[in-house]
């Protein structure tokens, strides 16, 4: 990246540095919180090269909508070529989102026809229900939660509609018993994650999935109403995604959670649900991260998060899950221990150790590769 020597930001001016050495990082963080509890000026990114670098980073962090809207509102000054690039990239991202939403409508219609009633997760639900304007929140794929008992059939129904799956199932029965999700791809590049649960590993096994379907939210879209996670469940899911979804979560994920915390200043209902999910520490970790990173003003949430004392074991489980994601490592032993039934433990352990040849082939691996990895 070009040294952003000519970049000046509000953060530099008011000394509100939060550990970012790169001024573009600071602008991105300000953008991540912009429009939530503050609509103040962000500053100016002078010069074409730093401006274009900011645009690229905003795309990576899924903040291109916020950048384009903030630039239009005049709260961030950009070189004209950078402003043009921001709007071009935003327009392209929005057209992709619309393409995904059109596909989502068709997919839900097909699943409904097969008596499979999914819940919409993440992007479209957060954009329409939680952001002030859905144009601010872009997304790249579709995520649907289906009941575990419907997962295999849902894959079949969508295969008939041209959706091919990524890696083959790890072992027969693994998807509907243990997988977080099955990824399907259409010929035009649209990716659809069919979820069985909301997270990999220990915390994915702890989520009481039936509760999510008992009290769904409603997502009006194109004259129809789709089922999605309820508000409380969306708050928790954004927290899970922030802490457990990736070793390096995007700033968009911080914004998603910060937005929920600001809109829901009383933690009680969400905390009660987090207890039912065995996820209080995940939620507290996520809240602390959002508050520290984006400097949002949510005193009741801060007090609650500060009162949570994780055990060493729980903290270690979360850290392993955060780093490993869906990969194979110590976190999968944690997950195996989380399973109550000895039969499930054996099946899960066997699937981890001895995936089928078809699964390995679909991932470009050989059995010998696994042995070497161990």
């Amino acid at each position: 990246m070009t040294p952003p020597a000519s970049t000046t930001t509000r953060s530099e001016a008011d000394g509100a540095g939060r550990g970012d050495r790169d001024p573009i990082d600071r602008v991105l963080r300000d953008l991540a919180g912009w429009g939530l509890d503050s609509t103040g000026p962000i500053g100016e990114v002078a010069g074409e090269t730093p401006g274009l670098a900011l645009v690229e980073r905003a795309v990576e962090q899924r903040l291109i909508g916020v950048l384009a809207v903030a630039a239009d509102a005049g709260v961030i000054g950009l070189h004209p070529k950078a402003a043009e690039a921001a709007h071009d990239r935003h327009r392209a991202a929005l057209l992709w989102c619309l393409n995904l939403e059109a596909r989502l409508l068709r997919v839900v219609e097909l699943l409904d026809g097969a008596q499979i009633h999914p819940l919409v997760l993440k992007g479209p639900a957060l954009a329409h229900l939680d952001e002030a304007d859905p144009s601010l929140r872009t997304f790249a794929d579709i995520d649907l939660l289906v009941r575990a008992t419907d997962l295999d059939r849902a894959v079949e129904v969508l295969a008939g509609f041209g959706a091919g799956r990524g890696p083959a199932e790890r072992r027969p029965g693994f998807d509907h018993r243990f997988a977080k999700s099955v990824t399907l791809r259409f010929a035009d590049g649209v990716e659809l994650d069919l979820h069985r649960s909301l997270s990999d590993g220990v915390h994915g096994f702890r989520v009481p999935l039936a509760r999510l379907f008992e009290s769904p939210g409603r997502l009006p879209l194109a004259g129809r109403t789709l089922a999605c996670l309820s508000g409380v469940h969306r708050t928790l899911h954004t927290a899970y995604h922030l802490v457990l979804g990736s070793p390096a979560p995007r700033l968009m994920s911080l914004r998603d959670l910060a937005n929920h915390l600001i809109q829901r200043p009383d933690p009680d209902e969400v905390v009660a649900e987090a207890r039912a999910w065995g996820g209080e520490v995940v939620l507290a970790t996520a809240v602390s991260r959002a508050v520290e990173s984006l400097a949002i003003d949510v005193p009741r949430w801060e007090r609650w998060a500060g009162s949570v004392r994780p055990t060493r074991r729980e903290a270690a489980i979360i850290e392993r899950q955060r780093v490993e994601g869906s990969g194979i490592g110590r976190g999968k032993i944690d997950a195996l221990r989380e399973l109550r039934s000895p039969r499930d433990r054996v099946a899960y352990g066997w699937a981890l150790m001895a995936p089928t040849a078809a699964h390995l082939r679909s991932r470009g691996l050989r059995r010998r590769d696994l042995a070497l990895a161990r």
Binding site: A68, D72, H87, H90, L94, L98, A102, L105, A222
Partner: protein, 92 residues
């Protein structure tokens, strides 16, 4: 266009604001961009509305908009109907 007819988005159209214009994708996956009065009227049509209500909503939300006049609203509705993006409900 009668004064009592109510207009709303045809089913299956998804859309976003983008820099003062509206980007739409229809049930067939084709994208359309609406500008000016058509964009204002489209956004005002999220809930069923008579021409008078469309005018009121457009004027209320975008006071500075040049398109908020009866003639332009009527023209925008005609354009949207020609594009099969609108249905009429509760027509007298």
């Amino acid at each position: 266009m009668t004064g009592r007819a109510r207009f709303q988005h045809a089913s299956g159209w998804v859309w976003r604001w983008c820099r003062g214009s509206v980007l739409c994708v229809g049930p067939d996956g084709a994208a359309t961009q609406l500008d000016g009065a058509a964009a204002l009227v489209w956004a005002a049509m999220e809930q069923p509305a008579t021409p008078a209500e469309l005018l009121e909503r457009a004027a209320e939300r975008w006071a500075e908009a040049p398109g908020a006049s009866e003639v332009l609203v009527a023209g925008a509705v005609d354009e949207l109907m020609r594009l099969d993006m609108v249905t009429v409900v509760d027509a007298p």
